[in-house]
Assembly symmetry: C2
Homo-oligomer: 463 residues x 2
């Protein structure tokens, strides 16, 4: 394609400023207090797709937050790429740990990002990466180089389980018909080592509630005589892992695919420094399932983590109380072949069985999704690989991610097409954490690389 | 003594209204947001002591909240009673579980309290019970029936460890010189079965902090590969009790006094219905240390309870995060001979030893106090017993409480006098819980009983 680099160079300040404006809107889908902002973000995304040259853009209402749909069909006989992304973001807390306000984007230069990085919630996940596709589209339409048909589907509920997107996809097979799905909501190994994500973990997210006495009690008068819901909850959670950090839920590992030694050897070739990893997190050692490396633990193995816990008095000072209730949010990352709904039921059954007499337990399934794997011999993967080769000068490494995009497996099931995960983020971007950021180098590199995927995918499709 | 009953009957509405005014001030010592209110409460207590006939009342400043001191010395050759109480209260949360605002006192009639009960934070613990002594003083002075000298010492930091009162007592031996200390900050078995508290448990209160990675992490990218501080904290807390609910801290039980079978048989005689107990708390079973009854578990045995726990995302919806830190507030109730500072050190050492590699642990000792036992053959106990006999028509039962008034053992050590615990509260008063209340019958009964203690104590002292 012609003049991508010069176009990006000429427009980069505008590309950055437009993203910054989008990042100023706190589109936190998990907290209803931000409802207006989430809706406002959908409108802004709609406008940006129109500017980028889509012929037909609409806000598709759902029972939750709307889906922004846009398309440009240039020739029914040409292949169609469906771009998926999300405009909602994770909650910003703990807010006090941000060095600048999460919704007042600022550009800071760092050792890793001498060109500067944009600090804001959603900078990388996923507003920044989603917006790369909008700008790539703008480039292709404004320079008359769009080689195929394009459809955009940008949702506002990815961070809360994409429940309504699932319904939307099931009800709009024709509208969403495509030859490949393209998503940038993952990362790459490093700026020097591009990679394409070929696997995602599934997810089961639950909330548990342990109830003891019908009211908070004085710990002196009742301490030691009644079940303390917090003590009980800690015992129940502790029992979910054995001394080797294997998960103890009966049947949990039954469908887990065990990789061959050869596959594990291939994985081990990806550049990784355990020392740098520990240093970056300021930990004296890693921790996890016995018999697996760090990169295996967070990609090909299922895990169980408490994401939040609360109960009793958590204010300043002391309160000698036995709480009536204790709560925890627990999520399990699943690997391909583990069915998230089945795992959720196995968890529920097992967790309830751990409750001693004297307490009542409630397990509330929250949301989830299946894992996903894409083959590297597909046209889509090959097109992505060639695109990276042109812009990075290196063949990207196929890599399994530990993260989840629950909707991806549903896309395949409903739309019968494969998803290509072209992620330009880095582990250090602190997505879901305070001080999330996205390197300007990564942002512009994404905008320059994406159009090449369209070119190669169209060419390979003709063969 | 003359006309106690008629005096109480004539003035009961005023007694109730004056207490209600005092309860309107949110004197929460644990939360600095209430500082002004705590100080205002001290002023109100000072005024009430002056009205009650104390000759000399003063606000004694400390490094924390002030101590209100008042006295009436009628004859140096007569015995002196030192009354202790506290004007600070526990935090009100969880506020949403109160059926009426905690600092807007209301009188409600209940099955147990057909005469009505005052619902407010501090109604029983300890504003209501402390105020019984102020009104009893008023009766004795206004009817010229005060039989001995009286000193009042009302503090504002009982709910946060009485640290500054300890210093005050050590520095004011002469000022506080007395023959017996009288406190109403405990309960009795029931309205039909009066009891006197002869034992209190000690307390060690700590806060623990577990730190894993230096920032919150995405649970997909890091889940299973680094120590999750919340999972680790639950494992550490769970390990503090074994399968028989014995506390696992090495040396924890070394100094615990084991009661004889005869003493335990005596205790077992106190009227108690396990069914009513479970029904009142809406639990299907009790829970605690193997080999002990419910009444033993919450009185003669030491215990360990988590009073609060928090970490990660505890807001609405879901956040797939691994928290950088997890926290818990943990308190241990101790029995006589266990030294709270020694136990705190044993806890610290053991808890730190439970931490796996990959996390850092911080144990912050908060406050504590020693347990206490008073003999039933003392003049003070006998005087109290006779007082109850006159107003309840029954000999009160000596009873060990599971609660702690850390300062009591310090009184004995510093002032060389015994403390008599004349409590008029009931287990059902929900102290430290939402909907704390104090029966009007109990309140007035206390006012009518206390003067008789002065009478009998003075008479028995002459013998």
């Amino acid at each position: 394609m012609q003049n991508i680099d010069s176009y990006v160079e000429k427009n980069k300040d505008r590309f950055i400023n437009e993203l910054i404006e989008l990042l100023k809107i706190p589109s936190v889908s998990a907290d209803s207090a931000f409802k207006k902002d989430v809706l406002k973000t959908a409108d802004e995304v709609k406008k940006s797709l129109e500017k980028a040259g889509c012929d037909h853009v609409e806000i598709c209402e759902t029972e939750g937050y709307p889906i922004v749909y846009g398309e440009k069909i240039i020739d029914k006989n040409l292949p169609t790429v469906l771009v998926y992304g999300h405009y909602d973001v994770q909650p910003a807390d703990p807010i006090e740990l941000w060095t600048s306000p999460p919704f007042e984007p600022v550009i800071k230069k760092t050792e890793l990002h001498p060109e500067g990085a944009i600090y804001a919630r959603g900078a990388c996940d996923d507003k920044g990466q989603m917006y790369m596709h909008v700008k790539a589209m703008e480039f292709m339409t404004s320079t008359n180089q769009l080689p195929c048909n394009v459809k955009f589907m940008i949702e506002g509920e990815e961070e809360v389980g994409s429940v309504n997107l699932g319904k939307f996809v099931k009800e709009n097979h024709e509208k969403l018909k495509n030859d490949v799905i393209l998503i940038s909501d993952t990362g790459m190994i490093s700026k020097e080592t591009p990679s394409i994500t070929t696997g995602l973990r599934g997810l089961s997210y639950v909330e548990v509630e342990v109830t003891g006495p019908n009211r908070d009690l004085h710990s002196g008068l009742y301490g030691g005589a009644v079940a303390n819901p917090i003590n009980v909850l800690t015992k129940m959670i502790a029992a979910l892992h054995d001394e080797n950090n294997h998960i103890t839920i009966p049947g949990f590992y039954d469908k887990v695919e065990n990789l061959s030694d050869e596959e594990r050897a291939q994985m081990a070739k990806a550049p990784f420094s355990l020392e740098d990893y520990k240093k970056a997190l300021d930990i004296d050692d890693v921790y996890g399932e016995k018999g697996y490396t760090t990169n295996e633990r967070n990609s090909i193995r299922p895990t169980l983590d408490v994401n939040g816990i609360w109960g009793g008095y958590i204010g300043e000072g002391a309160k000698t109380v036995i709480a009536s209730k204790a709560f925890a949010k627990i999520s399990m990352r699943l690997v391909p072949h583990q069915d998230w709904e089945e795992i959720t039921q196995l968890f529920k059954k097992h967790f309830e069985s751990l409750a001693p007499k004297g307490v009542k337990v409630l397990v509330k399934p929250h949301h989830g999704g299946q894992g996903y794997v894409t083959p590297i011999d597909s046209i889509g993967y090959q097109a992505a690989s060639k695109a990276y080769e042109e812009t990075f000068g290196k063949t990207p490494i196929p890599q399994r991610s530990g993260g989840s995009i629950p909707i991806v497996s549903l896309f395949e099931q409903e739309l019968k097409s494969k998803t290509i995960l072209m992620g330009f983020g880095l582990d250090s971007d602190a997505i879901h954490s305070p001080n999330e950021h996205f390197g300007i180098w990564n942002y512009l590199k994404g905008i320059a690389t994406i159009p090449l995927f369209y070119k190669h995918f169209t060419e390979l499709s003709k063969k």
